[in-house]
């Protein structure tokens, strides 16, 4: 039975190896913060971190996930849900319907992890693959700049 390490915990799943990781995370492990938007890699709603990199979990087959891989979902981004991106998101009230936001936050957090001072252009480039039908886009950019600041204050 495949074993996964997610948010520092071990999980077993009986899903077949060709199952997209997204559905294993959501429906088997019930970490429903990660969302299904398109299943085709177009929207980014399903973004999680694998070994620190933002990955579209709908495009990863369970059988291709290394058992040592460190997977982080929105639920595990910060032990008290207070990652600088999350705090900035609340401060600027980024979410509307909120459905895309786990993916947005995971994508943004991955940027700040490698680039603590992104320019607006870098933000736009990094976030452009994440759709938001409510078009919360401009607040996201503001909030990412703010998160960069918060990370430094910590």
């Amino acid at each position: 039975m495949p074993q996964l390490s997610i948010n520092g915990q071990s999980y077993f799943t009986d899903s077949p190896p060709d199952s997209p990781l997204l559905w294993v995370i959501r429906e088997d492990l019930r970490l429903t913060g990660t969302k299904f938007g398109c299943g085709g890699g177009y929207c980014g709603s399903c973004t999680v971190h694998i070994n620190g990199l933002p990955v579209r979990s709908c495009q990863v087959k369970l059988g291709d996930v290394d058992s040592n891989a460190v997977i982080t979902t929105i639920e595990g981004l910060d032990p008290s849900d207070a990652h600088p991106v999350q705090r900035a998101w609340i401060e600027h009230e980024v979410p509307q319907c909120g459905y895309c936001q786990s993916g947005q936050i995971m994508q943004a957090a991955a940027l700040l992890a490698v680039n603590p001072n992104p320019t607006t252009e870098q933000i736009v480039q990094h976030m452009n693959g994440n759709l938001c039908r409510c078009a919360t886009y401009s607040r996201m950019v503001t909030a990412i700049h703010r998160a960069a600041q918060l990370a430094k204050e910590a």
Binding site: S19, W23, D28, K35, Q86, P95, Y99, R133, Y137
Partner: protein, 816 residues
């Protein structure tokens, strides 16, 4: 929308009851309407006033606001709670929200749970203000009793009742613990005595308090319909039907699907009420298995009457239909249009067309249905739990041959991952329920993105013919002919379909139906003495593409057409488009709005929202004290917005880079009866070599009356403006062989971050009755962009969306 044929009307209970009850040492204050005390509560031997419609306050001072409106990104619960809490004078930190379960019994208490038309604040504001104020008055009276002082010398603030002269006070919680409240505000006698705050006394209304739904949307804890789990649940995935509508399943070959471990059954959905035509659902133990099985099933269809239909055919048929003037229904008829044209020095005639678009919400349609102990439970995030329940009731009564009253159906509401008008159809619930019957286990039906697109409820394609008569540089006469698929038919709205409810008649004396959801927006606020709008219903479209409401409904195409054409007329008349518009936004005649505060009984503030409102089982027409119409001020408020936006955008005063233009548009969406005044200016740069263009900046000014939460209003304006940008730049749904051609976000392209322009928003708060903010700004961007493209490079494109090739083509034409 569900089946709207049978609104319940008749009762006229308008009084408020404010009561507290002591149950096991705790007092609960609630406010509701008489005659609704629940039998359960009586049976339990308590005197609890269970059906408290708006809020319940417990002796710890915590107050739970009961929100029947769907949360889909508007932070509506917060907005409604702000209004109640302000009048109630309860501490904001003590406010909680909950959502009532939808059932027959709860429908009798809370009325129609339906979130639509950006109407939540508009239609609730007066009622909930009074409810909050009634609660405050009752608490002041009781608090004075506790303090042993005269109520007249007391006021309420921050969950306390305070004696003015001494400062002596008692908290709401203490009051509830010590005395029993039982107060009735009889309608209409006592209603005048309900002391509503004046605008300057507001402490929460007008403040950007933090929205209560936001934190859970940043940590994965927010629960949407798709996040539901029930014991023993299985999954369903839809096989993409051969056509959007009306295919019939001839045979299902499941031999390949059966080889997939975990596959349970291919369920052919029983059709009824014209829903779920040609639907087969693959049921499996896990969702990926269900998706795989859906692909492996080989279904043969009789492709039905729309099998060969495509978008170009529809448009050609619209054009033909528009030649049949006798069959038109008039929507606007002012002055004598033909005489106006005859007297004109110059006439201008143009054709406009618009493509389909669809909602494409990030959360695909889904629902989970369970049948246990004779009860059906539906778990879903939807715009109307009430219509969901009613539609499922009708369906199950038909397919199971049961009496509707014998069906016990409950709908559990969750967060909605995007609505935009796209979550008010219930085929998925019906299909899931049928699967439950077939497999005997709870079923979670989730659309793949592909099946979601294939079963979209589309905005109809449209064809418009416009004519203007110009004399002395003035617009003397205007005609707009509109052909499209009217959506009302799908909801049984219209004489022809058995219901005159929610239906307007044509103004040509022919007593014809006219579907304002499909025509509205053409009835603009410009003074044009001779003005006519005629409409034709292309009913094939209605069914073939399942024509539906989509953010601003018909405004989304009519404003594009009217505002593009207005610019054409201005240029033809040799006038500046700004000055030309302002000269006609003079608030004269029918465009003055309701001139005074309040309006005579029978004048609806918003025609169909008032109709929906009276469908509350305890209300009847004109049963509510009249509140101020949103039309107060009329076109002058729109002119004011236009001046602000034009000024801020530097219209006529700013030097622009090459190939760059500004374009104007205004709107008063949603309806004539419920306008929100908005003006917008787009700055666009066109690449003359390729015709591609980018929107650099949008300047938007909106006067929505009272602003409950400025930050949320700002977010709504920005979101809807980008929705508008998206539909002019890239969104396009097309029909081919009876099915939609686009299957996922690589083909159907909503706006992305890199395309987002700078947006300058001005909210012109006034002290008028609040009107909706979630949609109107989305209508003005498309025409403003079209007008800006014209001003940049002289290319007039009369089709939405505007593709770069069309810009190039129009540039060539302009040069020729």
């Amino acid at each position: 929308m569900g089946d709207m044929k049978t609104p319940q009307q008749g009762m006229t209970r308008r009084d408020f009851l404010v009561r507290s009850t002591v149950v096991a040492g705790s007092g609960f204050l609630s406010i509701g309407l008489p005659g609704l005390a629940s039998k359960d509560a009586a049976a339990a031997g308590t005197a609890a006033f269970t059906p408290s419609i708006w809020f319940t306050m417990t002796p710890d001072g915590k107050t739970t606001m009961h929100i029947v409106k769907a949360e889909m990104g508007q932070h509506i619960g917060t907005g409604l709670a702000q209004v109640i809490a302000d009048e109630l004078e309860v501490k904001w930190a003590d406010v909680r929200l909950d959502t009532p379960l939808e059932s027959v019994a709860n429908f009798a208490v809370y009325g129609l749970a339906y979130t639509v038309n950006s109407g939540s604040i508009t239609t609730e504001f007066d009622r909930i203000s009074r409810a909050g104020a009634a609660g405050r008055m009752a608490l002041i009276e009781a608090g004075a009793k506790v303090l042993g002082v005269d109520a007249g010398g007391c006021y309420a603030k921050d969950s306390r009742v305070v004696q003015k002269s001494t400062g002596k006070s008692v908290t709401y919680g203490e009051i509830l613990q010590k005395v029993t409240i039982d107060k009735k505000f009889a309608y209409p006698a006592d209603f005048k005595g309900i002391a509503l705050k004046s605008r300057d006394q507001y402490s929460l209304i007008g403040k950007s308090v933090a929205s209560l739904d936001v934190p859970a949307k940043t940590n994965g804890k927010a629960k949407y319909g798709i996040d539901v789990f029930l014991p023993n649940m299985v999954y369903g995935a839809l096989v993409i039907p051969r056509t959007r509508y009306s295919s019939k399943v001839v045979s299902i070959d499941d031999s390949e699907a059966k080889k997939i471990p975990g596959f349970i059954k291919a369920v052919k959905i029983e059709e009824a009420m014209g829903k779920c035509t040609g639907w087969v659902v693959a049921v499996a133990d896990k969702y990926p298995t269900a998706m795989k099985a859906a692909k492996a099933l080989k279904v043969k269809y009789d492709a039905g009457p729309y099998a060969a239909l495509d978008t170009p055919t529809l448009l050609a048929q619209y054009k033909d239909l528009s030649k049949n003037e006798k069959e038109s229904a008039a929507w606007v008829l002012e002055g004598d249009v033909d005489k106006g044209f005859a007297e004109a020095e110059k006439t201008l005639e143009m054709e406009y067309t618009t493509d389909m678009i669809c909602h494409a919400t990030m959360e695909p349609l889904n629902c989970t249905v369970q049948m246990a102990n004779g009860e059906w439970h539906v778990h879903i995030g939807t715009q109307s739990t009430s219509f969901a329940r009613m539609t499922l009731t009708g369906y199950l009564a038909t397919v199971l041959k049961k009496k509707p009253e014998d069906l016990k159906i409950f709908v559990h509401q969750y967060l909605v991952g995007g609505g935009f008008g796209g979550k008010q159809d219930y085929d998925d619930i019906l299909a899931a329920a049928w699967c439950v019957k077939e497999v005997g286990r709870p079923v979670k039906l989730i659309h793949t993105r592909e099946s979601n697109f294939a079963t979209s409820f589309a905005r109809t394609p449209t064809y418009h013919k416009l004519k203007a008569g110009i004399r002395d540089g003035k617009l003397m006469a205007m005609n707009q002919d509109i052909v499209c698929g009217w959506m009302g038919a799908r909801f049984g709205v219209g004489k022809k379909y058995g219901s005159d409810w929610l239906q307007l008649d044509s103004v040509d004396g022919k007593n014809q139906d006219i579907d304002q959801w499909s025509i509205g927006g053409s009835d603009h606020w410009y003074e044009v003495k001779n003005h006519r709008v005629r409409a034709w219903n292309h009913e094939t479209t209605t069914w073939a593409v399942q024509a539906s409401a989509l953010r601003t409904v018909s405004n989304s195409y009519n404003i594009f057409v009217v505002e593009s054409f207005m610019d054409e007329v201005a240029h033809a008349a040799g006038r500046d488009p700004l000055e030309f518009r302002l000269s006609m936004l003079n608030g004269k005649g029918g465009n003055r709005g309701i001139p005074n505060t309040g309006y005579p009984p029978g004048t609806p503030s918003d025609y169909y929202m008032d109709r929906l409102w009276i469908s509350l089982p305890w209300a009847s027409e004109n049963s509510w004290p009249n509140y101020e119409s949103a039309t107060v001020g009329g076109a002058l408020r729109l002119a004011n917005c236009l001046r602000v936006a034009a000024g801020k955008a530097g219209w006529g005063t700013r030097r622009l880079p090459p190939n760059t233009g500004l374009g104007i548009a205004v709107t008063a969406a949603e309806e004539r009866q419920s306008p929100t005044w908005v003006a917008g200016i787009a700055e666009v740069t066109v690449d003359p070599a390729t015709g591609s263009y980018s929107i650099n900046r949008l300047t938007i000014a909106m006067d929505p009356g009272i602003v409950v939460n400025p930050k949320n209003v700002d977010a709504q304006i920005r979101g809807s403006a980008l929705w508008g940008a998206s539909q002019i730049m890239s969104e396009r749904l097309t029909l081919k062989n009876g099915g939609f051609e686009q299957s996922n976000y690589h083909q159907y392209q909503p706006i992305r971050l890199a395309q987002v322009p700078e947006i300058d928003v001005t909210i012109i708060a006034s002290d008028h009755h609040p009107s909706g903010v979630g949609e109107p700004a989305s209508t003005i961007v498309a025409p403003a962009v079209a007008n800006a493209i014209y001003n940049a490079v002289g290319a007039r494109v009369r089709h939405m969306p505007i593709a770069p090739e069309a810009v190039l083509e129009a540039m060539k034409k302009a040069k020729a």
